[in-house]
């Protein structure tokens, strides 16, 4: 019994000497404020519908002596924005050319860019040179019932990215140019999240220098969250 009490006393001594060493081994307690910035990774989805409303197609050509009608490749809710036959030197408006739908949870909103994957590619017959600048030839403006071929509009630009597929049929790769289109190619933006829709009309202003030919181009829309 005396021996058992001696063991307990020794254990108690060890604890009383060892415990302060453990406490003093930790860092000094301090307090303060922290500013924490974080961002929930947003998602962005988008669709583009050509010829999105009944009544789509070209008007104008005032003075050309010909009334424009949609080309055979234009169909409701799809197909091609096909101006059909147009006359060099005159102006046209294509109503309900494209509708852009964006769905995003990005509370900072988004920016939509639209630009030509290439210049206008001539064929049948192939002109010389084979392309004609899209800039100052093909324009866009928000759809409105009051639009005319002479309404204020903004020119499409040729991309500085790399077209994917033949003439950009599969889009544009922006990885070599900073990952975003040119700022001047912005066509629409929103400061808020949501499911948003915007329709666009196109204008064609054919100067007297464009050669007679069939021209094609892909307009690529890119939506980027803010």
């Amino acid at each position: 019994m005396r021996r058992y009490a001696a063991v307990l006393a020794a254990a108690a001594l060890i604890m009383t000497t060892a415990t302060p060493q453990i406490v003093h081994a930790g860092p000094a307690i301090s307090s303060g404020s922290a500013q924490l910035n974080y961002k929930i990774l947003p998602t962005v989805k988008a669709q583009v519908i050509p010829n999105y409303l009944s009544g789509f197609g070209p008007t104008g050509g005032l003075g050309s002596g010909a009334t424009p009608t949609p080309g055979p490749s234009a169909v409701l809710n799809g197909g091609t924005v096909d101006f059909g036959n147009v006359v060099v030197g005159y102006q046209y408006l294509y109503k309900y050319a494209a509708q852009v739908k964006v769905q995003t949870n990005d509370t900072a909103g988004f920016v939509v860019y639209g630009e030509g994957a290439t210049d206008l590619n001539g064929s049948n017959p192939v002109p010389l040179p084979a392309t004609y600048p899209i800039f100052s030839t093909l324009f866009w403006l928000p759809s409105s019932a009051t639009n005319s071929p002479f309404s204020p509009a903004t020119s499409f630009n040729k991309t500085n990215g790399n077209p994917i597929g033949l003439n950009g049929v599969n889009g544009i790769d922006y990885s070599g140019v900073g990952g975003v289109p040119q700022a001047m190619s912005a066509v629409w933006s929103s400061p808020v999240a949501g499911n948003l829709v915007q329709g666009f009309d196109y204008e064609l202003r054919l100067s007297g220098t464009i050669p007679p030919s069939q021209f094609n181009v892909y307009i690529v829309y890119t939506v980027i969250g803010n």
Partner: protein
């Protein structure tokens, strides 16, 4: 004998009158017409609408200085205040194919517009007066004598969206856009904005081809809000009918 002389004189007088009248009212017809579209961007006035009040004193900002709260070694894990790049989400839907078939202009031999668009595709103009030298050129030709006339499109006489507004406006308001043909005269004339009819730009003789620059002067009044506008001018080629 007297009556015979009288009839002769009357016949001569009638012939002379018919000759004068037919020369004055030589029959003309509209051979071709074209629209010229000028895109304008009015930049906001540099004069501020208001002014910024000095910042009021508030409680001290606890985050005004960066405070190190954690470290691994001597360097920051994430440098405070430095921009943090987060991959932006993006989407690129299927491209929109656009096509058209450009047909030759049947009127190009008689009337052509040669545009000289600015690099930006539009004229960015401040408030006040801006002179645009050789904004575009016009070519005219015809086998008979002819005249070129111009008039501002989009007045209330022709209707359409935004008719009778800046810069063509509507009579009796004077157009804010004026023209001159420096080959003929340095004098600027406000564009006709009383509807079709217009004013003579130049005349041409039989088989005379000519091409001249059109200078423009645009006056943006202080009452005009900033924004994008277009001016549409119609050029008519009237030719003397054979």
């Amino acid at each position: 004998m007297r009556y015979r002389n009288l009839f002769g004189l009357l016949a001569l007088a009638t012939l002379a009158i018919l000759t004068v009248v037919s020369q004055a009212d030589a029959l003309t017809g509209l051979k071709a017409y074209k629209e010229v579209v000028i895109s304008i961007q009015v930049t906001p006035s540099p004069v501020p609408v208001g002014w910024l009040a000095p910042k009021k004193a508030t409680l001290p900002d606890p985050f005004v200085r960066n405070v190190q709260i954690a470290s691994s070694g001597s360097a920051w894990d994430v440098a405070p205040g430095a921009p943090v790049m987060i991959a932006q989400s993006s989407a690129q839907p299927t491209p929109v194919p656009v096509q058209f078939v450009a047909k030759p202009d049947p009127n190009a031999a008689f009337l052509r517009v040669i545009p000289h668009p600015p690099g930006a595709g539009f004229y960015s103009v401040p408030y006040g007066t801006t002179v645009i030298h050789c904004a575009f050129e016009i070519f005219t030709y015809y086998t008979n004598s002819y005249k070129l006339q111009d008039w501002g499109y989009g007045t209330t006489k022709t209707g359409g969206a935004n008719s009778g507004t800046f810069p063509i406006e509507n009579y009796p308001t004077v157009s804010d856009l004026s023209w001159a043909v420096p080959d003929f005269s340095p004098t600027f004339t406000p564009y006709w904005n009383q509807g079709p009819g217009g004013e003579t730009t130049w005349v041409g003789a039989v088989k005379q081809s000519q091409q001249h620059c059109i200078d423009l002067t645009l006056v943006v009044p202080n009452s005009q809000p900033a924004g994008s506008f277009t001016a549409t001018i119609q050029y008519n080629l009237y030719v003397t009918l054979p």
